[in-house]
């Protein structure tokens, strides 16, 4: 059938576009990074010197890599009790009730708030709190950014966990109850182990989301190009250095920023791939 063939070709052509897009992205990032790697070699990844002054240019991505990883991991740690409790509340304790629906909706709404609005709210409301608590003189820093990140990723961490937890079969839980276990014991000995892979996967995916976050972090992290010494010191992340310095960047500096973009792309891609793998293998 002629029209059949045409249709199939059109569909296939569309998929080629996707392949070309992805390949093109990787190619662009890699070729854009070549100049800076040529100049500094792999030292670029573990050097912490960042000096864009013409004539004495030095670029090293380490402070940003450290900043990205520290803020994201800290964000997961902070988000864990909140997201996990939400999952248990909706998927176990109050499963099916109206209050669970309400809480679920309110947590989901968090995913809709744009990053820049989180940044504003963090700047005007969270920062003074940090100052009052005496953690940092102006309220900026790794810790502040991590808190905002933690809030941002709650819906990502909790939604898949909630679903997996609520799907643990009743009779398995009943078997544990019939042996005299308390609710908490059933949760930790039966429900969570049964839902384990889904829970882990959802936190890994939330981590992937946190790694790439730009605006909110940029506004709160303090933008210092040094490796942070403690969680209350200032820092910078890969995404925020790109956002801050990309405008009017050219030559070696542009290449450095593109290289950081490549690193960010690779790290996020790996983390997300691991998360998807866990789902595929165990769920």
């Amino acid at each position: 059938m002629n029209s059949e063939k045409i249709t199939k070709n059109i569909l296939f052509a569309a998929t080629i576009i996707l392949i070309l897009l992805a390949a093109g992205m990787v190619l662009t990032l890699v070729s854009g990074s070549v100049p800076v790697f040529k100049r500094f070699g792999f030292q670029f990844i573990y050097s912490s010197k960042w000096n864009p002054t013409a004539g004495r240019e030095q670029y090293g991505a380490l402070p940003f890599i450290v900043g990205t990883i520290v803020t994201s991991v800290l964000a997961i740690i902070i988000c864990l009790p909140l997201a996990f409790s939400t999952s248990l509340f909706i998927g176990e304790y109050y499963k099916g009730t109206l209050i669970a629906k309400i809480i679920g909706t309110m947590v989901d709404l968090l995913a809709g708030i744009p990053s820049i609005v989180y940044g504003l709210w963090g700047f005007y409301y969270l920062r003074p709190l940090i100052v009052t608590l005496g953690f940092n003189a102006q309220g900026f820093g790794i810790f502040t950014s991590s808190i905002i990140l933690a809030i941002m990723i709650i819906p990502y961490a909790s939604s898949m966990s909630t679903e997996i937890i609520s799907l643990v079969p009743n009779h398995l839980k009943e078997a544990a109850y019939s042996l005299g276990a308390t609710r908490m014991e059933v949760i930790f000995n039966v429900t969570v182990p049964a839902a384990r892979s889904g829970i882990v996967a959802s936190y890994i995916l939330a981590l992937g989301r946190a790694l790439g976050e730009t605006m909110a972090v940029t506004m709160l992290i303090g933008n210092s190009n040094l490796i942070p010494k403690g969680i209350f010191s200032l820092g910078n992340t890969m995404a925020s250095i790109i956002a801050n310095q990309f405008g009017e960047a050219e030559g070696l500096k542009l290449s450095a920023l593109i290289a950081i973009g490549l690193l960010l792309f690779v790290i996020t891609g790996l983390i997300n791939a691991i998360g998807k793998l866990i789902i595929k293998k165990f769920a």
């Binding site: 029209s3 569909l11 998929t15 409790s85 509340f89 504003l120 790439g212 405008g247 593109i258």
Partner: protein, 298 residues
Amino acid sequence: MSKVQKPDKGSLKGNDQRRAAKNKIFQALVILFAFIATTPILLILFELIRKGMKQVNFDFFTKVAPDSWEAMTAISQGKVIPGGILNGITGTFIMVIVASIIAIPIGILIGIYLYEHGEQRYAGILRDISDILQGAPSIVLGIIAYIWVVKYITHGYSALAGSASLAIMMLPLIIRSTEETFKMIPVSIIEAGLALGVPYHKIILRVLIPTGLSGLTTGILLALSRVIGETAPLMLTALGSPSVSFNLDKPVNAVPLLIWQFYNDPNMVNLIWSSSLFLVALVLALNLIAKQIAAKQK
């Protein structure tokens, strides 16, 4: 009598009491933390409404953003800062339209392909690529759009570049929601069409898409709500502009970009709340409509 082996340490009764106490405490903690998790959204919305409603008026939607000088003058005279966010609204509008024109047709076509080829190897690879794209940080997509469009196509910041970055963001979402929507259509409907000798493209246009329309719409609305709030990629591509512009090869503004400009300018800082309120209201409205459509479908 029941011959439960006694524990090696302590009494059974004491053990039971401890467990009962732990159980109650744990439940209380779960409830507490779950409620704490709901407070940020309330706090954010409350502040936005409280501070943002003051600046929302008719001008808000019809005038362009003031420049720093106008704002400073108004403040020193104790007047309300003039202007609105029209240039942002129109910029967002044009970029989202162009992004949709690019991403929706391609996304639906790929979604159809994946639906048809289900478990095959190539389809699996496509899905993996789509997932990687979906997880890519938006700033990286901004870099890509900068190099491809700003550098090589429009030779300068432009609305087209902004649209390109948004299109790349929308594509994986459309692909996934298209495939999921079609998977939910009972195969018998498709088979009925095929049995009548209907050519494949007609099945797609007259059966598949109309039947799955609400699912497709939901997917599109959710993809839109995702990209409308994005700032980072636009900073590298659209740059911003003080006037209303529909020129694809010139810089253009967007609501989130405006918010960023207001934030960075001490004279205009007070405008951030109304613009944020508008942005959040828009995003949440799209989300709500999408969820309503999805719920009706069930």
